[in-house]
């Protein structure tokens, strides 16, 4: 009876409790932190040209290595509150010089350099913040070519997201089906596939990606593919374990008895029940892929200058560690935050989806 009323009254049906794993996730403060970091990261990627006040490539050789806060004061010329910026530039002989006689206010929703957004669909010059005047506000300082580090970080975020998504996509799209079929078929198919997986797993961590990049050449596209291929054996191994444990359960037998073909049974009944560990792995894999890509970028085997890839930015900053430590610091902070976000979510998902708890 209750079922029927539920079906007739969608509002009531919606009030039914959320699935248990989601309730567990919502109760876990670490999960909330992880999800918030990831949400913020996605916003940055989506609204990059709006959030970043300047273009990632605009150079200014008069303002190289300005540390954050150069020429910035929290009081205006007449004592007004707010953030005020005075012109600053680096002189070859006297270091950084700030012209204190003038100051311009930093304002929210300020017009600035124009940009096109969403593949040219939207053209605008509105930015989240900017200076109302002929100076620039470098929130996180500038790099060796006088480029705004904050703008570069914001514009480079999509690279990390893409690398993570492609890696998870290749893992889920190739590794998981191959591993599932291998485990479900058993016999020589399983034997062969597992030996291939063993071989790929014999290249620990970042090594497989380096091998692929060394073979097919450096660059961002190859890097993405390399990090993706490195995910294949991990996914194949994980799903194999779950499929093996599910393969002989009664509902699978029932599907066979009802005349479903083997592959149909696999994709319709077995794989959906083996997804939990893959979901957990996908969150952790995002973290791993971002770390690998940044590592390869740092080694000079990934993105090429002037791409604002975080690992590459860090590598450039390494050369100026003694004079301008901020150049290497902020890309590192960005990487660790995003990686931590995905690791926190992955951990929380593992706890939430664990049927033993």
């Amino acid at each position: 009876m209750t079922d029927q009323t539920d079906r007739k009254n969608p509002a009531k049906r919606q009030r039914r409790k959320a699935p248990r794993w989601r309730r567990r996730l919502a109760r876990n403060p670490l999960a909330i932190i992880g999800i918030s970091i990831i949400a913020l990261f996605l916003m940055v990627v989506l609204f990059a040209p709006f959030i970043a006040p300047y273009s990632p490539q605009t150079q200014d050789l008069r303002t190289t290595y300005l540390p954050p806060g150069t020429g910035v004061s929290l009081r205006g010329p007449e004592g007004q509150a707010g953030i005020w910026v005075s012109p600053a530039q680096r002189s070859p002989t006297r270091g950084v010089e700030v012209n204190d006689s003038v100051a311009y206010p930093v304002k929210l929703f300020q017009r600035g350099p124009s940009y096109s957004w969403l593949f040219g669909l939207i053209k605008s010059d509105l930015h989240l913040f900017g200076v109302d005047g002929p100076v620039k506000y470098y929130l996180l300082g500038t790099d060796e070519q006088g480029r705004d580090i904050f703008s570069r970080l914001v514009h480079g975020a999509w690279i990390s997201l893409f690398i993570g998504l492609i890696s998870v996509g290749i893992g889920l799209g190739i590794g998981a089906p191959v591993g599932a079929i291998s485990a479900f078929m058993g016999g020589w198919v399983d034997m062969t596939v597992q030996r291939v997986v063993d071989t790929l797993l014999a290249f620990p961590g970042i090594l497989l990606a380096i091998v692929l990049v060394a073979t097919f050449g450096t660059g961002l596209t190859n890097l993405m593919i390399a990090v993706g291929i490195a995910a294949i054996p991990i996914y194949a191994r994980i799903i194999r374990g779950s499929v093996l444990s599910i393969r002989n359960r009664e509902f699978v037998e029932a599907a066979g008895a009802l005349g479903r073909r083997r592959m149909g049974t696999l994709f319709k009944h077995v794989i959906p029940n083996a997804l939990a560990p893959l979901i957990v792995q996908s969150s952790l894999q995002m973290a791993i892929a971002i770390l690998f890509a940044a590592g390869l970028g740092f080694l000079g085997l990934g993105a090429k200058p002037p791409q604002p890839e975080w690992g590459l930015m860090l590598a450039r900053g390494r050369e100026y560690l003694a004079v301008a430590p901020h150049v290497a610091t902020f890309p590192g902070v960005a990487i660790i935050l995003v990686v931590l976000g995905f690791n926190l979510l992955g951990d929380a998902l593992r706890d939430a989806l664990d049927p033993r708890k």
């Binding site: 071989t199 797993l201 290249f203 961590g205 090594l207 050449g217 085997l301 690992g311 560690l321 990686v339």
Partner: protein, 306 residues
């Protein structure tokens, strides 16, 4: 035990063969003439021809592969196109440095990781536990190169306690070892905590507690011994990964190991050295995993009878 050992060895063989195939294919699949790749960018036509002749690059793939395997078995991996020295000589010179670094790192990771894990398990579900586990997670999420740079900045440049780069004394080893071992420390700490919590719920621990053992004695004498079995396995596997992880750490600290050698040779397209280093790291990883499996079977007899 002998049967178990043999079975593990047999499973490792296909991986070994697979690694050889991949390393062999690296040069053949790379865009460009393999002879030119092996001879180096600036080699003259005569040298390229000599290389083509020597490696039989006009022969069919199976014949080439057979020759490649024979060469590897005889310790002939070709010559570096940069230094013209035999690859095996270079590897023999630099590999011990990488092993030294990896050993120091795993030692650091085991000591700190196990300690953190024990503290966490003993104070489970308190703020101490939360703090220790967040620290462990940050360790796992930290880009090694960034931590290395920070370490150099604070402990070598601003307060010069340790040298900035290079190898030699114990002081040279400290920062690279901590940098490389950081992620393993996090993994080992998390592993120790969960293993210890599982063991602490067992009957024999309850017995020990009923007999009046202090919590400290119970953990150190009864629980830890059993909890350490999986921890040691993870430690062994981590040691294998550290050999590869050294690629980045060695570059940051200009540590003269095979990891840095791999990066410079990839960047200068020194293919014989790339092949040799990749082969060495992958084979070491297989061997370390094999040893870990065998030791696991030795300390936990349940494993052997599956």
């Amino acid at each position: 035990m002998i049967q178990y050992t043999l079975r593990r060895l047999l499973v490792a063989l296909p991986s070994l063969l697979g690694v050889l195939i991949i390393v062999f294919l690296m040069v053949r699949l790379a865009p460009g003439d393999p002879a030119q790749l092996l001879a180096g960018e600036f080699a003259d036509a005569a040298t390229v021809e000599r290389i083509r002749e020597r490696f039989g690059l006009n022969d069919s793939m199976p014949v080439q592969f057979q020759r490649f395997i024979t060469g590897v078995a005889q310790g002939d991996l070709g010559r570096s196109t940069r230094t013209s020295r035999p690859v095996t000589v270079e590897l023999r010179e630099f590999f011990p440095n990488t092993v030294e670094l990896a050993l120091a790192s795993i030692l650091f990771a085991l000591v700190v990781g196990v300690a953190l894990g024990i503290i966490s398990a003993l104070k489970s579900n308190t703020w101490v536990d939360a703090l220790a586990m967040i620290l462990a997670l940050i360790g796992v999420s930290m880009p090694t190169f960034w931590f290395g740079l920070l370490a150099i900045r604070f402990f070598a440049v601003e307060t010069p306690i340790f040298p900035v780069a290079g190898r030699g004394t114990f002081a040279h080893l400290v920062l690279p070892a901590i940098t490389l071992g950081l992620s393993s420390t996090g993994i080992i700490a998390r592993m120790t905590r969960s293993a210890l919590l599982e063991v602490l719920g067992q009957d024999y621990v309850r017995t020990a507690r009923a007999k009046g053992g202090t919590p400290r004695m119970i953990v150190l004498k009864h629980a830890l011994r059993n909890a350490l079995v999986p921890v040691l396995t993870v430690g062994g596997l981590e040691f294998g990964s550290l050999l590869a992880g050294a690629v980045i750490t060695e570059t940051v600290f200009t540590w003269p190991g095979v990891g840095r050698m791999l990066v410079t040779s990839v960047l200068s397209r020194d293919y014989p050295v790339v092949q040799g280093t990749v082969l060495l790291i992958a084979v070491s990883f297989i061997v370390v995993n094999l040893l870990v499996d065998l030791i696991y079977g030795l300390i936990d007899p349940r494993i052997r009878y599956d």
